[in-house]
């Protein structure tokens, strides 16, 4: 089931003749008459360097990219000269700009490249033993980090599943996805390292969370999967990262969350800006996204009964004594509301405010007695 090309070169008289010609010094130089556009490109900001924003010129730029770039289906870079009939067809499946595009995607990529960090050396791992960590707090933190290790790789696997199906004309998006893949691999790495440096070891995987991950991976289209993953799931995780920084047992752990947050915020922003692009350019796809988010929200609600929920309560209360549990519940209750509030805020910013009325989270909030906050959200 492999592709082996259309030409046996050494059996091709044309090819052999070409080699002999070049050997004699006869160069064709046809490629010098590419006829491609010549552009003036420089780094507008020396501090920022030469970015894709600087390269957004003429036929090379993304502003000139139409909704459907007809013709290119191979490896030719955008703006290069190519022959439609001669190109090796990579059979891309995502060929509409609105399938993948997001406002600011070039900026997101450049930011990702300038903010790469290393889980091995950026975290003061050796300092961990300097801080006293009550056993039950460390166990709860190990459970939290086991969960993060478990879920972070979905944000490499899902974009990777779609990236190679995208037309190479959308290279800024593909580049961003590659940056997200390495970001998330690093997140899985840093949380795994934290679990295994803590003394407790790995805790349990969470079946309910796994069902959500499966639903993300099996999304019917890239945009539906992106809405579920970037906007809803990573949005929830971003709020959890902020919360986890707040309740981190040690400064080492705070550092971890500060670093992962900046990456996660970028991924959520991409999701929001992709959704906004769809709504602005192909509003007829709204219902499809509603259906995906109906299901995504349902899966998210199913996670409320996991060990994770209790681990966060123990961490927030800093122990398992009744007063600590009471305090933990108050804080985690606030987190739950905050997660939904921030999700609704992102929907509004993406121009998808109508989703809020339909959200599965509204009855949930009412049922767990948080109707007051819910009412505030609507305003």
């Amino acid at each position: 089931m492999s592709y082996y090309g259309s030409t046996d070169y050494l059996a091709s008289p044309d090819f052999v003749l070409r080699m002999k010609d070049i050997r004699k010094g006869n160069l064709d130089l046809g490629w010098m008459k590419a006829g491609t556009e010549q552009v003036k490109i420089n780094a507008e900001s020396p501090r920022r360097g030469l970015t894709f924003l600087d390269c957004n010129r003429g036929s090379y730029g993304y502003d000139a990219l139409p909704e459907v770039p007809r013709g290119p289906r191979g490896a030719a870079p955008r703006g290069a000269s190519y022959e439609v009939d001669a190109q090796a067809d990579l059979s891309p499946e995502l060929n509409r700009k609105s399938d993948v595009w997001a406002y600011k995607v070039a900026s997101f990529y450049e930011e990702a490249m300038s903010r790469q960090w290393d889980a091995t050396t950026y975290i003061p791992w050796a300092d961990l033993e300097k801080y006293e960590r009550p056993e039950e707090v460390e166990i709860a933190f190990a459970q939290l980090c086991t969960f993060f290790t478990e879920v972070e790789m979905i944000a490499t696997d899902l974009p990777a599943k779609w990236m190679w199906r995208m037309n190479n004309q959308f290279h800024e998006v593909k580049h961003f996805i590659a940056s997200q893949a390495i970001d998330e691999a690093r997140h899985a790495e840093v949380f795994r390292k934290r679990v295994l440096a803590g003394g407790v070891g790995m805790m349990q995987a969470l079946p309910q969370a796994e069902h959500s991950l499966k639903a993300i991976l099996d999304g019917d289209s890239y945009s539906e999967a992106s809405a579920f993953m970037h906007l809803l799931a990573e949005g929830n995780v971003l709020t959890m990262f902020r919360f986890s920084e707040y309740i981190s047992p040690t400064p080492v752990d705070k550092r971890i969350f500060q670093l992962v947050m900046q990456d996660e915020a970028r991924h959520v922003s991409y999701g929001m800006q992709h959704l906004k692009w769809i709504i602005d350019h192909t509003p007829e796809r709204k219902e499809q996204l509603h259906i995906a988010l109906d299901e995504g929200e349902t899966f998210s609600i199913s996670q409320f009964d996991s060990a994770l929920f209790e681990a966060m309560i123990v961490l927030a209360g800093k122990g398992t004594k009744p007063a600590q549990i009471k305090r933990g519940i108050e804080i985690v209750g606030t987190l739950q509301v905050r997660q939904i509030e921030e999700y609704f805020g992102r929907l509004r910013r993406a121009g998808f405010e109508e989703r809020i009325e339909r959200s599965k989270f509204r009855p949930l909030l009412a049922m767990i007695g948080l109707g007051k906050q819910d009412a505030a959200l609507s305003s």
Binding site: M1, S2, Y3, Y4, S6, T7, F15, R18, D28, G30, W31, A34, I41, A43, R48, G49, L50, T51, C55, G74, A75, P77, E83, Q87, A88, M113, S114, Q116, D118, A119, T120, I123, W125, I139, Q143, E150, M153, T156, A160, A178, R186, E189, A197, G198, G199, V200, G201, M203, A205, E210, L217, D218, G219, D220, A292, T320, P322, I325, L364, I368
Partner: protein
Amino acid sequence: MAYIAPKDYSQDPQIMAKVMKVMSGELDLSWMRVSAGPIEARPTKPGYGLTLDDINQGSYGPDRIPEIVRHNFSMAPRGAILPPGLPSLGYRLNRKSEVWSDRAAALFEEGKSRRWAPAHDVPWSALEASGLEELQQVAMRQLCTGFVSIGLVCADVPARWVWQMNQEFHEVKYLLCLQMIDATRIAEAFRKRALYGSGALGVDSRELGELLKMLFDSGTYPCASASMNLSLFSFVQGLGREIAARARNAVDLFLGTRLTQDATRFIAYGIDHLRQLMRARPAEAESLNGHLDAIENGVVGWLGARETLEPLVILAGGLDPIARFYARQTDEYFERCAASGLGDRRGRSPIPKLVSLIGG
């Protein structure tokens, strides 16, 4: 939606009851009594940080991964407790030897520590005085156009496979994510190199496109790995060295050096992956060699394409240096094939015939 929840949890009284129970202070906490086994990993080499090798101990390390993974098809981290009810995420690469390299962890660590950003790490302003004549500038831009295509497709190849790999092989998955960004950076850096100043991209090479499609459409992951990591990147690495050696400005020196450095990681993984595959399943050698027979035909097309060979000739000032470069690189490539356990490929490969045609 392809995967639907078995019920609408927002309307599920059982979930609500559980939530209310916890919110009223009645916690179960049974999860606190079950750990997969204590471990307190610490950096073993001061100054190196906490590496993957440092944490790969006991059941958390890769040594106990069986050749065929049958116990976990979820995203549960290796070594975690696996409660009942974990779904299958449908992984299709579940044999360790299909993907594994003992060097994956170290290569991942190296890649992270040698990261660079084309936007601000490349001294772009050095191109104001590139030291190249107009003809050479156009030739360089044509070469860059090819590298952009290579970068684009070589980011897609690992992307095509990584999501199908079992999570037990997370070191390899991390490395493939690194390959995605390394290849992306090749595309980005050479695109910017071609366009900087009063620049332009050149012509898409049909032959290069054909080769890249062969890698992209390889039928198995070992075939894709052999074609991309071993075959293609052996020559990409050589081209990086050539660009660095012939550089007349700081930008081309930088790009050539970094291209060589990054390509070396692809090759190192490819060799070790294939070597371990050959040890575990020597019968695979013939199918891989058969695949490489066809891939090397693609390499011949690429190296002999006017869009590849003629710019190299112009930049080197003649064909002879390029003929020597091709010959040297081909020798290195065959040594790597042998080191991978594929045996001596010289007799069956079409590349030496191309080298003779060019070398006269």
